[in-house]
């Protein structure tokens, strides 16, 4: 499992919104929103890679760049050894077949008037795949079996509203599997779903991944599901990765103060915490990506920041051993999380 499937290098996405007339008249300058600001990582074949961070850290934008739904400002994306950063229409379509996206709200992505059979046939027809109708139906039945909607024949004739939340997410997953993708990008696929369905879906996605040898990019702000679900984690803050490594290592031995803060905020089902006001290592909200702090971009919220953190050039990812990388210049001095 050490062959790289997807590699992004120094990926950036800077949005420059147009000024409104009023802003122009007021002599306003264009703002540059640095949503993704120099992100590099590789995902191995057969790996589940988690991208974690609070709201506004740039996770979805990174996912969209990888899906090629938006173009990067700079940087490269390599897939299966091929540079796919900028490709022609045919190549892009081929890439989108290999890299599929699972949406947060599976209901919204399905035509309510289509039976499940038609929901699943649609991508095959669009991509002109799997020969005649009988062969296509064969593929649909196989996909339903892959996501454990059995017996598959029974689900073919149902409409989306006749499915439970978990079954709907299974159908949405089957729909992405139909085209035999190599990789799935899942952006908060379970964050709005209640916990028993969430467990069901994560369990199913993991089984599918094992059975078919797929590669996943899993985007979330929920470290508890990431621990269960992923092999490696990258923690993102304000458009950059501040820590990256094996999931267990990141959660048991977090180095970066931001990762430590994310971990401290996670609720756990234990008694005796009701009367406690939780000590949160960081306060306030994430700064605007239109106004990124100097030096280490986390210094404005970091409990351990010194003047040097604000003035020195931004730290790059450093290797702490065991494939554990971090971007904290003071990592030797800051206390370990309890």
């Amino acid at each position: 499992m050490s062959e790289v499937l997807l590699e992004v290098k120094n990926l950036k996405k800077h949005f420059v919104p147009h000024l409104t007339l009023a802003q122009t008249l007021a002599g306003g300058k264009k703002r540059v929103i640095k949503a993704v600001d120099g992100v590099s990582f590789s995902i191995m074949k057969g790996e589940i890679f988690g991208l974690i961070g609070e709201s506004g850290s740039g996770k979805t934008t990174t996912g969209k760049l990888i899906m090629k739904l938006i173009e990067p400002t700079s940087g490269t994306i390599t897939f299966d050894g091929e540079d796919v950063t900028f490709t022609n229409k045919a190549k892009t379509q081929e890439y989108r077949r290999k890299v599929q996206m699972i949406f947060q709200d599976p209901y919204a992505s399905m035509n309510p008037r289509f039976k499940i059979r038609d929901v699943l046939l649609e991508p095959l027809i669009i991509h002109k795949m799997h020969g005649n109708r009988a062969e296509q139906i064969e593929r649909v039945l196989k996909a339903l079996t892959e996501v454990k909607l059995t017996p598959p024949e029974e689900f073919l004739v149902r409409y989306p509203h006749m499915l439970s939340g978990g079954q709907r997410q299974r159908t949405a997953t089957a729909r992405t599997l139909i085209l035999n993708p190599k990789m799935l990008v899942a952006d908060e696929p379970v964050s709005m779903i209640d916990l028993s369905t969430r467990a069901e879906i994560l369990h199913m996605m993991k089984e599918v991944q094992r059975d078919l040898g797929l590669t996943y990019l899993y985007i979330t702000h929920d470290l508890s599901t990431a621990r269960y679900f992923t092999d490696r984690i990258a923690v993102m803050y304000l458009g950059r990765i501040v820590e990256m490594g094996p999931a267990d290592e990141i959660i048991d031995n977090p180095i970066h103060p931001y990762t430590q803060a994310l971990i401290a905020a996670v609720p756990e089902p234990q008694a005796g915490k009701v009367d406690i006001i939780k000590k949160l290592p960081i306060s306030g909200e994430i700064p605007s990506p239109a106004n990124i702090p100097s030096g280490c971009r986390f210094h404005t919220r970091c409990p351990y920041a010194t003047e040097a953190c604000a003035n020195n050039p931004e730290p790059e990812l450093m290797d702490a051993g065991n494939g554990h990388f971090h971007a904290c210049a003071r990592w030797k001095e800051i206390p370990k999380a309890q």
Binding site: S55, A199, R227, K278
Partner: protein
């Protein structure tokens, strides 16, 4: 401590063309002054319905059925007229932060204007006085007064949720129902909001009903936990009874096993196969029987009563009846 709220045999049915959806079927619980009661359970088990029932504002075609009692501060509010409820109960004694309310702020009005409207709906006061009150309450939830002049899209999710919480506190209610107040927020903002709620509770001597499907979060917030399934209470116990040792109802046990843990790596997450039942024709006997892993014959024929197995700990499961 006095009981601030007593709910007795509460039934709320949605009378649809296909039949009555028995969304709440004989629910009884109480709440003490200053206490937080958690309502948990899967989607559709009746959490929101319980909340709106207490405000006497079920969404149509819902109706509170005969025999239900909702006693707040010694008065049963079920027989009260709409006018009396609006004047003396809603927002004055009980208020609610609705599920998804932060995303329902009107995009074209300033926060100040929307808060003024909420205030005016419930109590007439001079504009100047109202503005002062709004500023005061923005302060209580950690927001600067300038927020009044901003539009919803100029606020982060956490800030919008603070605005909604401030609006629920204006008229000094005794009980605030919080329906999934942090579900759409990230973990850091969630933790900040939970801390804020705990502080507000002390400052204003409030009682809370805290609704969520997240059992881990409930552990950090609620003194007592009420686990609901298919419109009924499956288990009700103190925080220690539910989280300190193994809970008693198979449903609660399964829900806890389905909760991913940060500090423990597990290979598989248990999940409850199947889905909650149709509430127009719920299963005979125990409503959980189609999904339960340890049923007995009786579970399919007779509905288990909610019985007290130790002080403060109630369970509706035949296996717990000696």
């Amino acid at each position: 401590m006095e009981n601030l709220l007593e709910v007795k045999n509460l039934r709320l049915y949605y009378h649809t063309s296909k039949g009555a959806v028995k969304a709440l079927d004989d629910v009884s619980f109480s709440l003490k002054e200053g206490e937080t009661l958690g309502l948990v359970g899967e989607s559709g088990c009746g959490k929101t319905t319980t909340g709106v029932a207490l405000l006497k504002m079920p969404s149509p075609p819902g109706r509170i059925e005969k025999g239900s009692q909702i006693i707040i501060d010694g008065t049963d509010i079920v027989p009260l007229s709409d006018k009396e409820i609006r004047k003396n109960i809603r927002w004055e004694k009980i208020s609610m932060v609705f599920q998804g309310a932060m995303n329902c702020l009107t995009p074209v009005y300033t926060i100040g204007r929307q808060m003024l409207e909420t205030l005016n709906e419930h109590r007439m006061m001079e504009e100047k006085q109202a503005v002062e009150l709004i500023k005061e309450y923005l302060g209580h939830v950690g927001l600067p007064p300038e927020v009044m002049n901003r539009y919803p899209h100029e606020l982060s999710g956490g800030m919008k949720q603070r605005v909604v919480i401030a609006s629920a506190l204006f008229l000094k209610p005794r009980l605030v129902i919080l329906d999934e107040p942090t579900t759409a927020l990230d973990v850091i903002v969630q933790a900040q909001i939970i801390n804020l709620l705990k502080e507000l509770k002390k400052t204003f001597n409030l009682s809370f009903i805290f609704i969520t499907h997240d059992l881990a979060l409930e552990a950090e917030v609620s003194d007592r936990i009420c686990v609901m399934y298919a419109g009924k209470i499956a288990e009700l116990g103190t925080n220690a009874q539910i989280y300190g040792k193994e809970p008693l109802h198979p449903y609660t046990q399964k829900l806890l096993q389905a909760t991913p843990l940060l500090h423990k790596k597990v290979d598989t997450l248990a999940f409850i196969p199947g889905t909650p039942p149709d509430l127009i024709n719920p299963p005979t006997g125990c409503r959980f029987n189609p999904r339960c892993h340890c049923t007995m014959e009786k579970c399919f024929t007779e509905e288990p009563p909610l019985i007290e197995v130790e002080p403060g700990h109630q369970v509706a499961c035949w296996r717990c009846v000696k």
